[in-house]
């Protein structure tokens, strides 16, 4: 493992991709030769276009798919040696459309994993209230509502609360704020940043939004056409000479110039 520039020597690797690849049964390669590690408490943002393979990489972590090449290690153990169900309950998962269960109340949605894990009823109730408060929703007002009675932003908060329910050490987020309007998006992103610092989880976020990557990531992994182009700190990313990275940065600067022009 030594000599790999991606390994942060001082810290414990929680997620480790070792030449991981994924091919569809038809032969189409979605992701190839991905090597990278995520240390405890770090937030890795996978940035790239739609279809670049970011979501594929994410799904390799919680075994929604299994690697066709290489391996993925979670807490030092290859995912294939984990029981898929146990692994997924160990990892929080937030997706863009939230995937809240329409026939469950907010409380039932949020308490899903604790109930699957057969926590005692009292503890489940207390945890649901605590979680809603954590994501900035008033429990008294929201616990008994159904997802259809929530705004997009509220739904996304519930989605985050549900993922955090059993206090998983790892959190995966696939375009978590993608479906929100820009203002709600900025607001939830800020709150999420605060939450991130408080909880100290190991987080992997998938996004195609450069400013989101810069704001939320402790490191940014640039994914292009099924391959990882490089991993940068936000500062390195802004100064990177790599053509794809600088294209993202240029697009950011275009916006700034427009503002200055006014």
């Amino acid at each position: 493992m030594s000599g790999d520039p991606n390994i942060d020597a001082g810290r414990e690797a929680i997620i480790e991709f070792r030449s991981a690849g994924y091919r569809l049964p038809g032969g189409q390669v979605l992701l190839r030769n991905l090597t990278c590690t995520v240390s405890r408490g770090e937030t890795l943002v996978l940035l790239g276009r739609s279809g670049a393979g970011k979501t594929t990489a994410l799904k390799l972590i919680n075994r929604l798919i299994d690697p066709s090449e290489g391996e993925v290690l979670i807490e030092g153990r290859p995912t294939l040696q984990w029981d898929a169900i146990e692994l997924r309950r160990h990892i929080g998962y937030v997706i863009q459309e939230t995937g809240l269960f329409p026939h469950y109340t907010v409380e039932q949605n949020v308490s899903l994993v604790p109930r699957l894990e057969r926590w005692p009823a009292e503890r489940v109730r207390a945890r649901s209230r605590e979680l809603l408060a954590l994501v900035g929703l008033d429990p008294a007002q929201f616990l008994q509502r159904y997802p259809r009675e929530l705004s997009g932003g509220q739904r996304q908060r519930v989605g985050v609360a549900r993922a955090l329910a059993a206090d998983p050490p790892i959190l995966l987020m696939d375009e978590p704020f993608g479906a929100l309007d820009p203002l709600t998006r900025a607001e939830i992103r800020r709150e999420f940043q605060a939450l991130q610092q408080r909880l100290g989880k190991t987080i992997v976020i998938v996004t195609h939004d450069t400013s989101e990557a810069l704001l939320l990531g402790t490191r940014i992994g640039l994914v292009e056409a099924g391959a990882l182009k490089g991993v940068y700190s936000p500062h390195e990313f802004l100064r990177s000479e790599e053509p794809v990275a600088s294209a993202y940065v240029a697009q950011l600067h275009a916006l700034e110039e427009f503002e200055r022009g006014k």
């Binding site: 998962y93 997706i95 995937g99 269960f101 329409p102 026939h103 899903l112 699957l116 995966l172």
Partner: protein, 211 residues
């Protein structure tokens, strides 16, 4: 003969026929649901089974009912009792809408919901019982409603093999060229169908997931 006299003479017979009819339809529906829903789930899970399963149910649907009853009569055990023959034939007719709607209901579940359920670490069984089936309940019920109404109508033909029910009056009326007797079978059967349709549609609306 006026209707008052007719009913005072045949009232208890009509009631008896109606109860037999309800028994035939009830037994058929329980059997058809017990077979159709699992088959529908199978079709949703294994799309390659969709053609063979739905195709067979479709073929059963096209066999003329009198002929189907005739085919079943010589079958051992089944042929021993008229109601067994009738319920088997009726079940074959009732299967298609139930299988089709169950499969459609489950395939229609929002992929994001299924993905979230998997990602949360629900087992396939938990996903089916706690997510997919509850979310497709109203669609499944719509299939059961269609099948029930269909069965109430077709069950009148069961009288041809002596399985009783309201068809008795219709067949007797046909033989005696007596319209009153035909109506004595047809009107309660139509009423049963309307009542079943209404009750099941109320249930279906209450179970429909609001989005």
């Amino acid at each position: 003969m006026n209707w008052v006299d007719f009913f005072s003479r045949h009232g208890s017979e009509i009631l008896q026929g109606t109860l037999e009819h309800i028994w035939l339809v009830g037994a058929t529906m329980l059997l058809a649901i017990a077979i159709g829903v699992p088959l529908g789930i199978l079709v949703a899970r294994r799309p390659w089974l969709s053609n063979p399963i739905l195709g067979s149910a479709n073929v059963a649907e096209t066999i003329p009912s009198l002929a189907l009853l005739g085919f079943l009569l010589p079958v051992p055990w089944l042929g021993d009792r008229a109601d067994r023959v009738a319920i088997t034939a009726l079940t074959l007719y009732a299967l298609l809408p139930i299988i089709r709607n169950t499969a459609a209901g489950i395939t229609g579940v929002d992929p994001a919901v299924r993905e979230a359920a998997r990602g949360m670490g629900m087992t396939p069984r938990q996903i089916l019982l706690q997510v997919e089936l509850p979310l497709s309940l109203s669609t499944v019920l719509a299939g059961i409603r269609v099948a029930t109404v269909l069965t109430i109508g077709v069950a009148t033909i069961a009288a041809a093999v002596g399985a009783g029910g309201l068809g008795e009056f219709i067949f007797r009326g046909l033989a005696m060229v007596n319209n009153q007797l035909i109506l004595a079978g047809a009107i309660p059967a139509a009423a049963l169908a309307l009542i079943a349709d209404f009750l099941l549609s109320v249930l279906e609306r209450r179970l429909r997931p609001a989005r």
